[in-house]
Subunit: 115 residues, 2 copies
DNA sequence: AAACTATTTCCATGAAATGCGAAATAGATG
DNA sequence: CATCTATTTCGCATTTCATGGAAATAGTTT
């Protein structure tokens, strides 16, 4: 993971609303049923549902829509269209990578030019 | 780690300059010698040295001073006075904790009220 | 105390980000 | 095609934040 990628991910997560979205997507238990491209059943909340849980609004707000796309641009979540709806899922790999980055920083394994 | 603590840490790390400071402190190899409270020798860069590495300035700037205290307030680094100088060290435990938080998010172990 | 070093505080400025409502768009359905 | 739903784009007001210079402070040395 490059320094810029790490930077973008951390910036995306620095906003309270976006962090709450991520926490929510990490632990969702109320989902919409859907069928993936292989015919399998999977579950993922729609943008509206995410918004509902975060803000209490009944429909998705422009603000939450923006935050969702910000998280997607940072590579932290996936957004896929299902008819008129947008399904949101966390990308666990990205968070695994972030965890490794912090391990690296904690362990002092950061490459550093000497003086 | 509470959600607010995580929030503060991520916000502190969302700034490019602060992230560079952290990366630098994580991998420092050019230090100032110092004596800790038990008489042991330890090494840590001064605020000026951090600033020099980050900005190229010869003296510490108000901007870097501000960033250092921001990182300290977020619990990510330690700053201790040594005469007129301030020595800066990373708090590896904090980054270990952050790594665990991301593991938790990746694994979906986030506690979430159900509907 | 005066002079010097390292750092901090204060203040102003400009850039970027947030949040929101209204209009626009995309896809589904009658 | 008209309509309905879900989402996005746009424009705007407001806030937050990084930055930098000048003055103030803390500690050291003579």
């Amino acid at each position: 993971m490059t320094s810029e990628t790490l930077q973008r991910a951390l910036k995306a997560l620095s906003d309270p609303t976006r962090l709450r979205i991520v926490e929510f997507l990490s632990g969702v238990c109320c989902h919409t049923a859907a069928i993936d491209e292989h015919g399998g059943v999977y579950k993922a909340p729609t943008a509206s549902e995410v918004c509902c849980h975060i803000t209490g609004a009944e429909k998705i707000t422009s603000t939450v829509s923006h935050h969702l796309h910000e998280l997607e641009a940072a590579g932290l979540i996936r957004i896929e269209r299902q008819g008129t709806k947008m399904l949101c899922t966390l990308k666990p790999e990205s968070f695994e990578t972030l965890a490794q980055e912090f391990q690296r920083i904690a362990k002092g394994e950061t490459p550093n030019e000497c003086c």
